[in-house]
């Protein structure tokens, strides 16, 4: 069934005025893809490193303490919290609640504030303990 002419497309990202709900929706996908690929790769490497010899674990620890490693791991914890909070928001919306404009906007903003707060609190605690 060959298309004779291109089908009309719905307006895409560039045409909308950005708002919290739209941002959180996009973040949910991006963090989901990031956690699925990068997050699970790191988790698997971590488990394999622990199961192996000290040399292998030292390699993992070295990579994790490299500046890029820090960015990746802190980024993954933020992605985890953002995806978790907006995931809960999605579950609520799946049940038919929280669709009103005001509530929807507030809950979207709350997921962002929450994920930044939880990430900051987690790392403040971890780095505080380490010292």
């Amino acid at each position: 069934m060959a298309a004779e002419r291109p089908r009309p497309l719905s307006p895409h990202l560039t045409i909308w005025k950005w708002g919290p709900a739209m941002l959180v929706s996009i973040l949910h996908r991006i963090t989901g893809v990031g956690l699925s690929i990068l997050g699970l790769a790191v988790l698997t490497w971590w488990l394999v490193a622990i199961s192996g010899d000290a040399e292998g674990y030292a390699k993992f620890a070295q990579a994790a303490s490299h500046p890029i490693g820090w960015v990746v791991i802190i980024g993954l914890t933020w992605a985890f919290f953002q995806h978790l909070l907006s995931g809960v928001r999605h579950l609520v919306m799946d049940s038919g609640h929280g669709m009103e404009l005001g509530v929807n906007k507030s809950s979207a903003i709350l997921t962002i504030l929450g994920s930044v707060f939880l990430t900051a609190a987690l790392w403040a605690y971890l780095l505080g303990v380490a010292q």
């Binding site: 989901g32 988790l43 698997t44 394999v48 622990i50 987690l122």
Partner: protein, 131 residues
């Protein structure tokens, strides 16, 4: 109505709308999101509460059933949820049916292979001889 049934009564009569499957996938993604809400929180909290993140401490934690069992569940739920989520993203954005199948197949292999590797490593830690 079975859990996997996703067609409305009207849609069935008109033979339009839902393809009458996909409900299982939708539900799997959400049930596992609830599981990951618990297991992911447990994972982060456990790492925070461990006295140290060196190889010996983590091994000791994962040799105990209270660490090994939730960790195995976390790995399984995380890989399955990642696969469910990546399929949604691929189905949404990849227009060509062949590319869509190829990419979904690639992610399926990666999720099964990665999950198996992570579980094997965990089994090796949990059941291995104490160092």
């Amino acid at each position: 109505m079975s859990l996997g049934e996703s067609a409305s009564a009207l849609g069935k009569v008109e033979n339009t709308g839902s393809a009458r499957h996909g409900g299982e996938h939708w539900l799997s993604e959400r049930v596992l999101s609830a599981a990951l809400l618990l297991l992911g929180t447990w994972f982060i909290a456990s790492l925070v509460l461990l006295p140290s993140l060196d190889q010996a401490t983590i091994t000791e934690w994962l040799r105990d059933p209270s660490g090994a069992v939730p960790m195995a569940l976390f790995v399984i739920a995380a890989f399955r949820h990642a696969l469910d989520g990546l399929k949604v993203v691929v189905d949404d954005y990849v227009r060509d049916a062949g590319n869509r199948l190829a990419l979904n197949t690639l992610f399926f292999f990666l999720a099964v292979g990665g999950g198996a590797l992570a579980l094997f490593a965990l089994a090796r830690i949990a059941l291995g001889v104490a160092a």
